[in-house]
């Protein structure tokens, strides 16, 4: 499979069973904590809070690695730029570049923020059924409806988009095979080389979208107003505990920053 980022791995762990709203809010609070952490070391400490959750979720290490692998080069570039280009107290000199203590700190901070945020986001995606995720997002956005935020429609769009990811991947594979049979090569990343794949894929996506719209209308779908759900979300003790922990992490880090760092 080409695209594993954000893949859902069904399971029965405690993390899998958490309410999607709790997980979404938890990710948000975790992100706040990461951004609030003032130093590289503290960001790593905050970030490592995700490790117990990953262990609890029972995700294989190889899966985690595959999720993060595409990031490695990106992270390395961020790190090197921060370390080399921040002025301050010089620790070492390599050619024209000067390594500074402040640079190292900022480098580690940026590294930790991106790394752990992606880690936590892929944990959320891996342990949450995409449909439950869309449900959770809709419930969280619902208060926004009063000020004109189309929460139902957004959630529907998200659900449909997620629903069609595997379908389109399959379609892409089929079209690629057909074009390979005509001697096409998809090795290079030139846009021109991708046309024989992208154009048929778009045409079929539009056709599917039209078909879906007709099928929904034929079933008298008329927007979200007053719709009931098959799956009812309810907060359990574990969800409150999870949010409490995430909240404590965010609040603690924010306090630490105000008190000691900045």
């Amino acid at each position: 499979m080409v695209l594993e980022l954000g893949q859902y791995i069904p399971g029965k762990s405690g993390i899998h069973h958490l309410d999607p709203r709790a997980k979404l809010l938890g990710l948000f609070l975790y992100g706040v904590a990461l951004l609030a952490a003032p130093t590289g070391a503290s960001a790593f400490l905050v970030g490592s809070a995700a490790v117990p959750a990953i262990i609890l979720a029972g995700l294989p290490l190889s899966f985690i690695w595959r999720q993060l692998r595409p990031l490695v080069i990106f992270l390395a570039i961020i790190f090197i730029f921060q370390v080399a280009l921040t002025p301050g107290e010089v620790m070492a000199t390599i050619g024209p570049l000067q390594l500074t203590r402040q640079g190292l700190n900022y480098g580690l901070l940026a590294l930790a923020r991106v790394f752990f945020l992606v880690l936590a986001a892929s944990l959320l995606m891996a342990t949450t059924d995409p449909l439950a995720l869309a449900d959770g997002l809709e419930r969280l956005l619902r208060p926004g409806q009063r000020v004109g935020l189309p929460a139902e429609e957004l959630a529907l769009m998200l659900t449909l988009a997620l629903r069609f990811v595997p379908t389109l991947l399959e379609e892409a594979e089929r079209i690629m095979r057909a074009q390979v049979a005509r001697g096409a090569s998809f090795r290079g990343l030139q846009v021109k080389n991708l046309m024989p794949l992208v154009i048929p894929l778009f045409i079929s996506a539009f056709r599917r979208a039209e078909g879906l719209a007709e099928a929904m209308e034929a079933r008298a779908y008329r927007g979200g107003e007053g719709r009931t759900r098959m799956r009812q979300l309810s907060f359990q003790a574990a969800d409150f505990l999870f949010l409490l922990l995430a909240g404590a992490l965010a609040a603690g880090t924010a306090y630490y920053r105000l008190r000691f760092g900045g």
Binding site: R177, A178, Q179, A181, G183, I203
Partner: protein
């Protein structure tokens, strides 16, 4: 070009598990052959087609071209690659892979990928369009998306014919076409296989197509070769076919019905004309 599969087994891998699709397939396609591969949905027909076209590699077993073991398309180097160019594959609903702005451009895609000079590409495009019964001057400059479904499919097949394959593999080429469209496709397949040293592999669960075209038939059932023989030999075994989820063509079923009623008619008619002649012979002989 001879394609041969020896002890070929194939399984799809998903979520760390293997889903077996084909088991112990032995198959040979030689010049002059017209092989039909048939079977109920999920019997592994399309997978077998992709193995024959080098678009998948077997989990175990050997694929040889002209006796040489080869890897899949794009995997091997040198010889394997050029040998696969002689095998053309028409996918299910091939019109969905059209992408270029004009019909001629789309058909030129394959020959260009082969590295042919522009003048030869032009010659091949025209020849391919004529081979599928379309007018190169009238249609060549039009957008493929303005054509009818049957015309689009013929353009897509022309895109494969322009590669000048020696073996043509077609996966359900008549599915979803109106009767006129189907007749057009049958005609062009027949014209292709009448050229010297060409072979056709037709994947279809449409027994009428199989009866009308094929010289050999392979029936797949749950990933294994269940029956193999000439169309006459296959259709004689109506009961076996039914147990593999297939129905003989309607005229064969008519003959079987008449036979059960005690009429002395042959069971292995291949088309409507043979059925008519058999019934007339029976009626003429009786009256």
């Amino acid at each position: 070009m001879e394609i041969s599969l020896q002890e070929v087994t194939f399984a799809y891998q998903a979520a760390g598990r293997q889903w077996p699709v084909l088991k112990d397939i032995n198959l040979r396609v030689a010049p002059g052959d017209f092989l039909a591969i048939t079977g109920a949905g999920g019997s592994g027909k399309s997978t077998l087609a992709m193995l024959l076209a080098g678009l998948l590699e077997p989990v175990s077993g050997r694929v040889t071209l002209n006796g040489q073991p080869v890897r899949g398309r794009g995997k091997g180097i040198g010889k394997g690659l050029s040998l696969w160019q002689k095998v053309g594959m028409v996918f299910q609903q091939p019109e969905q892979q059209l992408f270029a702005e004009t019909v001629a451009e789309d058909i030129a895609f394959g020959p260009r990928n082969m590295g042919l000079p522009a003048d030869q590409v032009g010659v091949r495009v025209k020849a391919a369009l004529r081979a599928v019964g379309l007018d190169p001057d009238g249609l060549g400059g039009r957008s493929p998306f303005t054509l009818s479904g049957g015309q689009q499919r013929r353009v897509a097949i022309a895109g494969i014919l322009a590669l000048e394959p020696e073996v043509l593999i077609l996966d359900e080429p008549t599915a979803g076409l109106d009767p006129a469209g189907r007749a057009g496709i049958i005609k062009l397949i027949r014209a292709f296989c009448q050229q010297p040293a060409r072979a056709v592999v037709l994947i279809s669960h449409n027994m009428a197509d199989v009866a009308e075209l094929a010289r050999q038939v392979v029936v797949l059932h749950q990933g294994r070769v269940a029956l193999q023989g000439t169309p006459r030999e296959i259709f004689r075994q109506g009961e076996a076919l039914r147990s593999y989820g297939l129905l003989p063509p309607s005229w064969t079923r008519l003959m079987q019905g008449l036979h059960r009623q005690g009429a002395p008619v042959p069971l292995d008619v291949l088309n409507l004309a043979e059925a008519r002649d058999a019934i007339l012979a029976w009626l003429g002989g009786g009256g």
